[in-house]
Symmetry: C2
Subunit: 157 residues, 2 copies
């Protein structure tokens, strides 16, 4: 095996933290304490969240002045750029969800309890691609929300 044998260029599976570090370094940005804490919190569980919910989880740090609201906003933006988070604007406010290494999906949105239920449909993607082809439109992605009322809220209500 030659000396210059190299590993595959694209690592198949880095942790979100590693992936973010890679992204930051590639851009001459720094891996700071704050950015590390935010990524850790964001990827500690799979869920949809907005800036305020994230800020709430980071309350302690904020009260200790080790982290601030603007930094959280700045870092959320970077996580989106890095492809780790997907941002969607839902009834005014921005909502984020994990994107890195997470299968593509759409959402059922319950208007009563504001819950997002994920689902995946190959068929929707096929229709999307067919329609796009008809319009000679180059697809980069899509977003679909089915609005309505979930089982629980219908039972309660």
């Amino acid at each position: 095996m030659p000396d210059n044998f190299s590993l595959p260029k694209v690592q198949v599976k880095l942790s979100p933290e590693e992936r973010f570090t890679q992204f930051l370094q590639k851009r001459g940005k720094r891996v700071t304490q704050q950015r590390r804490l935010i990524v850790e919190q964001v990827f500690s569980h799979h869920d949809h969240f907005d800036a305020d919910e994230l800020l709430e989880h980071l309350q302690e740090l904020i009260q200790r002045r080790e982290l601030s609201r603007p930094t959280v906003y700045r870092t959320l933006g970077e996580l989106v750029e890095a492809g780790l988070l997907r941002k969607m604007s839902l009834s005014g406010r921005s909502v984020y969800e994990h994107d890195y290494g997470y299968p593509s999906h759409d959402h059922l949105f319950c208007q009563v309890c504001n819950t997002l239920i994920e689902f995946h449909s190959d068929q929707i993607e096929r229709v999307r691609d067919r329609v796009a082809r008809q319009h000679d439109f180059h697809v980069l992605g899509h977003r679909m929300f089915v609005t309505g009322i979930c089982t629980e809220c219908r039972k309660r209500g």
Copy 2:
């Protein structure tokens, strides 16, 4: 034919102006000069628009102090309530489109020129309903955006 013979309860086709008047009266609200002017402008052509674009079309009236920004916002809200307009939040700001008497559709959204191209697919609705049934979710509607780049922008480079 009896004296109390009545016309069908639901008129099949009123103009947007008439429909809005009906809506306002049903709620004890008034048909004012301003509301009339706004509906007229909004339905003068089929297009997607945001509050600022509408305000721009109404510049003259605003400079003459016959109409104001808050009134435009208030009336847009009422038009949505009345089912005349559909509101969608697109990258932060609210975008409106005709809803009354207009067939349901989805959008291709060109990220370069920000254009919305409408398309309709029965198949998407069928998939939507099937998925909803699987989740015992009561569908009220849906919204789908296919993001990408349109022909023109691809040609331009």
